[in-house]
């Protein structure tokens, strides 16, 4: 199906990403359990200084509620700050493109999008965001939201380790996530991108010679440093509207590969982080196994569906290189598709091809990844979602065979299951209610056009927002107050309800004493459990979402002549 060079290309990229992710997961386990690392010499003094400025005691352990409270307040304050920045950018400095202030609804949507790690862009960066807003506002949120995702996961996992009800110190976790994980990775990533030819300048435009004589102005900026945290933090908001399809953001197939690896780092690292943190490295394998089974299947389907579009067979075009509509020529189709698979399944949401042009089969596969949110899902919260699925799977499985449901020595009791259900149901509710409103009121049709394609586009928007993914399928006139306000709310629900659920489950686990393993304990580091987990996740997701998938891309697909 794929040419040999593409197979080598895909395997090399995925292999490199996984290897680095494994290394990173093991390193991060040290960071979050206060074991020595190579960065301590630099990071320790910085951390101490930051703690002193913040006025916090990094050793004081918090319960999950206090931890969640601090996280919510920090995120809320950052959101308000960026909202004001975007709203007022027209009268603020560093605005050589003369960008006017955003309307209140667009500013709400944009600040929510970047706070929630979604980075859904209803604005065009070139014409609607000033350099000041981008750097001081949106880029800061890209760091903070990625760090928030990491600390939630770490607090959740600590539930398996503790019995005194504490889940860690929020400030210490947040600061360490920044100084020891996100900032060093972003610096290295930005340097690689810079050397590979991605622009990095504080100038906001540059001149390009035109072939017929004369010049044109082209937008530019600190793209490499922005893009580094965009990809590593699973944010996905582009410096340009065309995101990683824009030649200035992704100038070559080599930078495309670098970006794919950067997206894989923190999204694929958590299983390894988890295994090391709970001191049972083998427990990483059922999770990474389940993720890879789902993810690789999705990739193969994407390659298959993007091979050609039979709808065009009567026009006399040849599709030897694949279905090229909306893709860039400097990437092979397999590279564009791999980027898109990693980006959407990792809830990054960056695009290097236009999603509205994908074949219906490919659109379904991408939607499926956002329904799942856990293969591998966004930084921190993606793996948190998988852990919740694992807890539910063990609970259901335990009841079926009459064993006490327990995981890693912790009983799965009413509190855990209650919060797991909250997390599980928040996703479909945040999608289906607004989708029903948009469909019934006709607002969806006005924005995205009639028929199953219009329905798919509106559905994709809400699914992407609820999953905190941020990729957009066009065309959709979604810069309206309805889509801005509803979209902003979907993103906040889709982000913070699961986060509270994860912290609550972590807190509930942390209050229990550990039960030693017995012959009746379900062995979770096994191939059987891996396959069971995959089946569980797929079936639950299918039950929740197959109906709307049938109304959208499936019916587009069967409408083929």
């Amino acid at each position: 199906m794929l040419p040999t060079s593409s197979v080598v290309d895909v395997l090399f990229t995925l292999g490199l990403g996984l290897l680095l992710a494994r290394w990173l997961g093991i390193y991060m386990a040290k960071v979050y359990t206060d074991r020595p690392t190579a960065l301590d010499a630099v990071a320790d003094p910085v951390d101490r200084l930051v703690y002193r400025v913040l006025g916090v005691d990094p050793r004081r352990q918090m319960g999950w509620k206090e931890y969640a409270g601090a996280l919510l307040v920090v995120n809320a304050v950052a959101l308000v700050f960026v909202f004001v920045l975007l709203f007022e950018q027209g009268s603020l400095p560093l605005n050589s493109w003369h960008v006017p202030g955003m309307t209140w609804d667009l500013a709400f949507h944009t600040s929510s999008a970047f706070t929630t790690n979604t980075d859904y862009q209803h604005y065009a960066p070139e014409t609607q965001a000033s350099l000041l807003s981008s750097l001081l506002g949106l880029q800061v949120l890209m760091f903070l939201s990625a760090a928030s995702g990491l600390v939630v996961l770490v607090a959740f996992v600590r539930g398996f380790l503790r019995k005194d009800g504490t889940v860690g110190n929020f400030w210490a976790d947040l600061v360490r996530s920044l100084t020891r994980v996100l900032v060093p990775l972003s610096v290295v990533g930005a340097l690689v991108l810079l050397l590979a030819g991605v622009p990095e300048t504080l100038a906001q435009s540059t001149q390009h010679a035109l072939l017929g004589g004369g010049f044109e102005f082209v937008p530019t900026g600190p793209v490499a440093s922005w893009e580094s945290i965009e990809m590593i933090g699973s944010n996905g908001g582009g410096y340009f509207a065309a995101n990683a399809g824009a030649p200035l953001q992704n100038p070559s197939a080599f930078t495309n590969m670098v970006l794919i690896v950067m997206m894989m780092l923190l999204t694929f690292a958590p299983p390894f982080l988890f295994g090391r943190m709970v001191k049972r490295p083998n427990e990483a394998y059922p999770h990474i196994g389940a993720i890879l089974i789902i993810f690789v299947t999705a990739l193969l389907l994407l390659f298959f569906f993007e091979g050609s579009n039979s709808f065009l067979s009567g026009t006399g075009v040849t599709q030897t290189g694949g279905y090229f509509v909306g893709a860039e020529s400097r990437f092979s189709l397999s590279e564009s598709v791999l980027f898109q698979g990693v980006s959407v399944y990792g809830n990054v949401g960056a695009t290097s091809m236009s999603l509205g042009s994908l074949t219906p089969g490919a659109q379904s596969v991408l939607l499926w990844g956002m329904f799942l949110q856990c293969a591998p899902g966004g930084v921190g919260t993606g793996f948190g979602t998988l852990l919740i699925n694992a807890l539910l799977a063990i609970f259901v499985g335990g009841l079926m065979v009459g064993r006490t449901p327990e995981y890693l020595g912790k009983k799965i009791g009413p509190a855990q299951v209650k919060w797991a259900i909250v997390q599980l149901l928040s996703h479909p509710l945040a999608i289906l209610l607004p989708l029903a409103v948009a469909a019934a009121s006709g607002l969806g049709k006005v924005a995205a056009g009639p028929g199953s394609h219009g329905f798919t586009v509106v559905m994709y928007e809400f699914v992407s927002e609820s999953a905190n993914n941020g990729s957009g399928m066009g065309p959709i006139a979604d810069g309206t107050p309805f889509f801005n306000v509803v979209g902003g709310l979907i993103m906040l629900v889709g982000r913070f309800v699961p986060i509270i659920a994860m912290l609550a489950i972590g807190g509930a686990l942390a209050r229990q004493p550990a039960i030693p393993a017995s012959p009746g304990t379900l062995k979770t580091s096994s191939a059987t459990f891996t396959l069971y987990l995959v089946g569980f996740v797929i079936i639950v997701t299918g039950l929740l979402f197959l109906p709307i998938l049938a109304m959208g891309p499936f019916s587009q697909g069967v409408a083929w002549p």
Binding site: V8, V74, S354
Partner: protein, 233 residues
């Protein structure tokens, strides 16, 4: 709770040490089971860490990080730091030159719009637009690579596949003073090969191909007549 799940004896045998149970009971553990610690008390964060964290983040992550990098870029990658070297798609209509893929944003880098096609994968508009592009490129009755008659994501894709260049050779030869054989050689010589043999496709940068072509052709072709009839859009 443990009694209902079928393994009561095992549960009892592995119950937590007595010392912990008494400690938990004294702290008023929850009714759902013995051995549970109670939730630590809740308190809101004080204002100082919240505000100082935001201020520090803005200074270090919003200002220092990109500023330092833009300075570093001028030293380690002076030729690429501004992005002026990256070729972008332009509107080429001269029939004596190779053409780019169509652009949904009219090749305007400051349009600010994403370049999403206003039609889906099974929309009749896609079919009709493709036919229209085939006509505009003067390629009816030949087998046309989809690459040349499909819009890119960015609308600024400066590249085409080698096949998309080959199919244009008859037209370029007709309007210029170069033979098809010479153009074939030129196209083959300008194919950018995959890095290390597997990263990226073989493709052609139309701008650099056309610059070479312009240098070869004499100036008269630039004013060739009949250009408008065949120009894209």
């Amino acid at each position: 709770m443990s009694g209902r799940t079928g393994a009561p004896t095992r549960e009892r045998r592995h119950a937590p040490e007595p010392r912990e149970i008494s400690a938990d009971l004294s702290s008023g553990g929850e009714p759902e089971g013995t051995g549970l610690a109670s939730d630590p008390p809740f308190r809101w964060p004080s204002a100082r860490p919240v505000v100082t964290l935001l201020v520090l983040s803005v200074i270090l992550l919003g200002v220092a990080y990109p500023y330092v990098f833009s300075e570093v870029a001028e030293y380690v990658a002076p030729s690429t730091a501004t992005g002026a070297n990256i070729t972008l798609g332009q509107n080429i209509t001269n029939p004596a030159l190779f053409w780019m893929r169509p652009s949904l944003i009219d090749y305007q880098p400051f349009s600010g719009a994403g370049s999403e096609a206003p039609y889906g994968p099974t929309d009749p508009a896609l079919y009709n637009e493709t036919l229209r592009y085939i006509q505009q490129y003067g390629l009816t009755n030949v087998s046309v690579p989809l690459n040349l008659v499909s819009p890119s994501e960015s609308g600024l894709d400066p590249d085409i596949t080698p096949e998309a260049a080959l199919v244009q050779i008859p037209r370029v030869a007709h309007f210029s003073n170069l033979t098809q054989g010479a153009l074939l050689q030129l196209v083959n010589a300008s194919i950018v090969q995959p890095v290390a043999g597997f990263i990226g496709p073989a493709y052609i940068d139309v701008i650099s191909l056309d610059r070479t072509l312009l240098a070869l052709e004499n100036a008269s072709v630039l004013t060739a007549s009949g250009a408008t009839a065949l120009s894209p859009r």
